[in-house]
Amino acid sequence: MIPEIGYFSLTLAMVLSVLLCIFPLWGAHTGNLRLMRAAPSLAVGQFAFVLISFAALIYASLTDDFTVAYVAYHSSSTLPWYYKITSTWGGHEGAILLWLVMQAGWTAVVAMRSQSLPWILRARVLGVLGFLGVGFMLYTLLMSSPFELLLPYYPVEGRDLNPLLQDPGMIIHPPLLYMGYVGLSVSFSFAIAALLTGKLDNTWAKWSRPWTMTAWGFLTLGITIGSWWAYAELGWGGWWFWDPVENASLMPWLVATALLHSLSVTEKRGVFKSWTVLLAIAAFSFSLLGTFIVRSGIIVSVHAFATDPDRGLFILAFLAIVVGGGLALYALRVSEVKSEGRYKLVSREVALWLNNIFLVVATLIVLLGTLLPMIHKEMGLGSISIGEPFFNKMFAILLVPFAILMGIGPLLRWKQNKWAFLQNKLLLCALASIAVTSAWLFLGYDDVAPLTLLATTLAVWIVFTTVLDIVDKTRVHGSLQNGLKRLSVSYWAMVLGHIGIAFVIAGVTLTSAYSVERDVSMKPLEVVSLNQYDYRFEGVKDIRGPNYSGHAGVVTVLKEGDKVARLYAEKRQYDIGMQFMTEAAIDAGFTRDLYLALGEQLSNGGWSLRIYHKPYVRWMWLGGILISLAGFMILGDKRYRNNKKREQKNQSEVA
């Protein structure tokens, strides 16, 4: 009964989204205000029905309704209740339904929060979002319904959720990532609506900016948590593998980052308009491309989702219509757009333009690295594999000019700048960062590689120049207190974002350079030491969880005789699939992580253990969190709130 409600409700939502696609777009085309006015309620209605549908799946999962094929394949009765809920997005069909919830949710929020927009634009934005909704719902209903039944012969027990996905990180990672992917569809819709209207002015950029920032914030957080999940759950201490699925999330992030920098130029200065629109289309296109890569099985990946060429074909067709249509419209309209502002070589415009160049080049590197093996093979040139060394090298090369620019850019003013003005300050910053970094690294470590020193210096450089910029900007207003108050929320968002990047750079660099690991075989009460820490193996005890059993290696960590932590490195065997899972024990710290994974029992009675000492690894995720906060902060900016007063004015314009 309940699954049928879910399916039926989704069908209703689809009907509403068809209307949402047709009514406002037709209304905007013919100037029919009544049709356009229907859009917001259609959007909210669509969201309500999608939500009912999703609730039905969650209900089926919570009540162990194994007549539903999806629940039987991805859940089991012994699963704790929270994992029963997360199992609804642990598989393909459910994940797409979650995507739909996000899509409909964003559409509803846009419908409610866009009163200040002129009706023509508002209707077109919602219409385009409606069109995207139709595509995904059609896909769900026809190709991947999570409500398929296994009647009359249904199993008494489900196959259980993949143990890898039974982790807190997995509870939030996909929803956040999808929030980001789908959120970019709002930027896309704004761009398409602006192209349809033919008015690519800075108001368009202003409206698009908070939505883009929010979506980008979610995407950042999603990627960060995904990386953390890989680190904590996969048991070999890695945090990024340049896997096609990870690349699929990195590409939209890079483009979206370029987009929000470009949006700020377009908003404030009225330049780069056509470029910004292209980035807005590209950002969502990469989200869709990522989905296609992940869901079609076109590229073999460790994430290996169930694959099916029919589904891939549908997504590809949808991709072709949405992206191809968007780019065709772009080609038609954009040649009419003229740039207004003027600027000199040393100016913030040029700095942001360079930033865009670097980010786009980075995106292309990732795209090539991901697709080249496939293209190479199709052209009959044989199999090649592109892996970590390629990406690491390329990103290391790009990082240097990018980070230097990141320090200088914020200090520059719009239009033009006297280079001589900045020269001394920048030189001072550069010397200070070299001095501080050298002191930090040479005092802490015996061996400092030039590349490590360079990358860390760049991270410190970003922090120093950012602080210099804050000081500079506050000094204009007399006292420090007075000055700090005057700085806008967007400015603080930028500061936070850049500091976040500095943390990521420093974290990645230092943990790559100074992580050490040891494979040891230990008998109870034996002690091994690694980087000033002593690990005393206390033995192995049995453990029993809700749906697994196993054993845990107990290790006491000591530093100079004092107890630092007691770690339990687990080896679990899940009851249903009988898979073995390594659950690493981590003692987290600001400047280092101690990471312990339990291996097998050896023939001599000892246990094999792998011990990692990972300095500054946490900075990477701290940076990610800071960056995503920067994205959410912009919601607090006054310029993007309290727009309601202008609403009447705009409406009278349309009438």
Partner: protein, 190 residues
């Protein structure tokens, strides 16, 4: 004109990508382009896994149709296929194991701990079934390299003249056997 063309460029690039994606959709990415099919088994001279003084050469294997199964105790999928392979052995299929040592480098790692490996192997085989006539130990992975092995499990079907007829990556289960191996086996044994 120039500007119009520039504006068209993203669309053209996208169409090109789409064409490749479309083709890629119908190509099976798991299919290995092995250059070994139709070629003779490369020559080798490698020790037996279980006996110290026994060595094997490709000529020892000629004269019979056999499967060369690349495996290791470190590989869970290999463990999973042992049961079905054992059934195949009972049906009269000759299976030779090529034991793949995952990460050993004699230049760095010191002497190889043969005893513990043998113990591991016999425990696993006594538990999950032993399909092998014998096992060849490829410590330095030279034969695996010559064969184009990319991981484990992989299985080669070799005919009585020593020609490789099939290279399968992944586990062998009843479905794979029926679809890929059985037709060729039938042709070979009239």
């Amino acid at each position: 004109m120039n500007r119009k063309f520039l504006a068209l460029l993203p669309l053209l690039a996208f169409v090109l990508i789409c064409v490749f994606l479309y083709q890629g959709l119908f190509a099976n990415p798991r299919e290995l382009q092995t250059g070994r099919i139709g070629q003779a088994m490369p020559s080798f001279n490698l020790p037996d896994l279980m006996q110290d003084d026994k060595r094997w050469q490709q000529t020892d294997l000629q004269g019979e149709v056999y499967l060369l199964n690349v495996w290791g105790t470190w590989c869970p999928t290999c463990l999973a296929e042992l049961g079905y392979l054992t059934q195949l052995r009972e049906q009269g299929v000759k299976i030779v194991g090529l034991y793949y040592v995952q990460s050993y480098d004699s230049d760095f790692d010191g002497p190889f701990d043969m005893d513990s490996l043998r113990e591991e192997v016999s425990t696993m085989l006594s538990r999950a079934g032993d399909p092998y006539q014998f096992n060849i130990l490829d410590l330095e992975r030279t034969l695996a390299l010559d064969l184009g092995v990319s991981g484990a499990p992989e299985t080669f079907l070799v005919d009585s003249n020593g020609t490789i007829l099939l290279h399968h990556t992944g586990d062998i289960n009843p479905r794979v056997w029926r679809a890929k191996f059985a037709p060729i086996m039938q042709e070979l044994t009239p």
